[in-house]
């Protein structure tokens, strides 16, 4: 099925999913932490909008609740918490440009193509067009993973982790019409707890190595006092 046979609402959903993928790239390339947090908030808002559209075009009424939950949690609460953390860690002017931006972009684009290739057999078996969004959400997951590999700064790595979670949520919503409400509540709560724990860890890391650059943890060695 191609785009011409879709109702307008689902076309809008496809556009929003593509924009969520774009915010993933913005997150990956963004040098300044505060701007990256804003990009993450926009991604949360876009995922919430996709969820709301799925809810409106299908009979799953509980998806409205989950869209509101996503908007509140990933669009507002977690970005706000991260923002506060960054301000308290005095990192709000911190900027760390990528060393090889063109190479990283090409790697991320290769990941998009890879995830499309991976999803192709699944999509071919099904008739519902919106399952193509599964490829996009898998790409969001992989780009988030790439961000965790490339970035050395702890807060940026957490952003990559959270955007991976966004991608998984997008996949669940677009492929199966959402998870049961209990599971979604559990995941949302987990993400919130993870965020609080990350906050504690930031202070711990900084207290022990006086920086949030996790590459420096490789150089930690245990001093053995020879007798």
């Amino acid at each position: 099925m191609s785009l011409e046979h879709l109702p307008l609402l689902q076309q809008l959903m496809v556009v929003l999913a593509a924009m969520a993928l774009f915010t993933s790239f913005v997150l990956l390339e963004q040098a300044r932490l505060v701007a990256a947090i804003h990009a993450f908030a926009w991604q949360g808002v876009l995922v919430a909008m996709v969820t709301a559209i799925v809810a409106a075009s299908s009979a799953h009424a509980h998806l409205f609740f989950s869209a509101a939950l996503t908007l509140g949690l990933k669009g507002v609460l977690i970005p706000w918490m991260l923002h506060r953390l960054v301000r308290r860690l005095e990192l709000d002017r911190h900027s760390e440009p990528l060393r090889r931006p063109a190479l990283v972009t090409m790697a991320a684009l290769a990941l998009v193509i890879f995830s499309y290739w991976l999803v192709l057999p699944i999509v071919q078996q099904e008739l519902i067009f919106t399952r193509n969004i599964v490829a996009v959400s898998l790409a969001v997951v992989l780009v988030g993973l790439l961000m965790m590999v490339i970035r050395t700064q702890a807060v940026a790595q957490v952003l990559g982790f959270m955007s991976m979670e966004n991608g998984l949520f997008l996949a669940a919503v677009s492929a199966t019409g959402g998870m049961p409400l209990m599971v979604e509540l559990g995941v949302a709560f987990d993400v919130l707890v993870a965020m609080v724990l990350f906050g504690v860890f930031f202070f711990q890391i900084r207290a022990s190595i006086d920086s949030l650059d996790v590459d420096r943890m490789n150089r930690l060695t245990e001093r053995v006092d020879e007798p």
Binding site: S2, V14, A18, F25, T105, L109, V112, I113
Partner: protein, 317 residues
């Protein structure tokens, strides 16, 4: 019939030349108002060109024949490229050469001679400007072609007229690939026509200038032609963005009514684009030259994402 059609095509090409300084003047006026200045009248670029044509064209002693010929080649190549882009009507005989690869080639030809002329006299500024222009264009061209290929894949043709027709036939479709291609093409257009985050068209007293550095040695009618060609290029990109992505109102037959409507609509669209450009130029600051590759990297990324989202999301398995 064919004579009338060719006449219309010629009229459209002349319209490009006639409108180009008006667009430049309009952008300057809006920008001046935004900066709380009164600004020169909108017709000022015409007066500048008229004045420059009346002045003597001075040459450096080291200038070769190339330096003398370059303004004519640059102007003609840019004009030919512009004449191929549909401005008011689509069903003209020039539609046969309205191929995006032809247009990119003609613009590359103009740029090649511009850069050669910049280096010809042998001043430091000319060589510097030429090398920067080549840096920008080498990075902008792949992004432009990728953005255009996104459209071509949707319309199954690289001809602009069929792209426009295809877009007119499917108005009720939201295409993510068009969104990305539009954003990519706008960034390329800003870089290629030397507008603010990349180059500042209002000054030639900066060390970071690109376009002005190349034409620093020109005077008189040569300078007028170079300026006119730059304004023509801006209008070309404006018409490309306005007519390919928002083609509504363009005349599809040769009736007086639809032609008149097409002209009015395209002028309104270009005026809106001019206001948008003036606002963005007022809000943004010029980038360092070494930041420009990152800017064009973003354009390429957007264009590639447009291509990929067309394949992934629009074609369907």
């Amino acid at each position: 019939m064919t004579v009338a059609a060719w006449g219309l095509a010629l009229l459209q090409a002349l319209l490009y030349v006639a409108l180009a300084p008006l667009l430049a003047g309009w952008i300057r006026k809006v920008k001046a108002r935004l900066q709380n200045r009164r600004g020169a009248v909108i017709l000022q670029p015409y007066r500048d060109i008229y004045k420059l044509f009346g002045k003597e064209a001075r040459m450096a002693h080291t200038a070769s024949l190339l330096f003398r010929a370059a303004p004519y080649i640059v102007f003609t190549a840019t004009w030919l490229a512009a004449a191929a882009v549909p401005l008011v009507a689509t069903g003209l005989p020039t539609a046969a050469i309205a191929d995006v690869i032809v247009i990119a080639g003609l613009l590359a030809l103009a740029r090649f001679f511009l850069a050669l002329a910049g280096m010809d006299v042998g001043t430091a500024f000319g060589g510097m400007g030429a090398s920067r222009e080549m840096l920008v264009s080498a990075l902008a061209e792949p992004a432009m072609l990728m953005a255009v290929f996104t459209l071509a894949m949707t319309a199954h043709s690289t001809n602009l007229v069929s792209v426009v027709d295809h877009q007119l036939a499917s108005v009720d479709l939201l295409r993510p690939s068009y969104l990305f291609a539009l954003a990519g093409l706008v960034l390329v257009a800003i870089a290629e026509s030397g507008r603010i985050p990349v180059d500042n068209p209002a000054t030639h007293l900066e060390l970071t200038m690109i376009h002005e550095a190349m034409i620093l040695e020109y005077s008189g009618r040569h300078l007028a032609l170079m300026d006119w060609a730059a304004q023509l290029k801006l209008l070309l990109y404006g018409a490309l963005v306005a007519n390919v992505f928002f083609p509504w109102g363009i005349a599809r037959d040769a009736g007086i009514g639809s032609l008149g409507l097409g002209l009015a609509v395209v002028i309104a669209k270009l005026a809106l684009l001019g206001v948008a450009l003036a606002v963005s130029e007022t809000v943004l600051a010029k980038m360092r030259v070494f930041r420009v590759p990152a800017f064009l990297n973003l354009a390429l990324l957007l264009a590639l994402l447009g291509l990929l989202s067309h394949v992934i999301l629009e074609v369907g398995a």
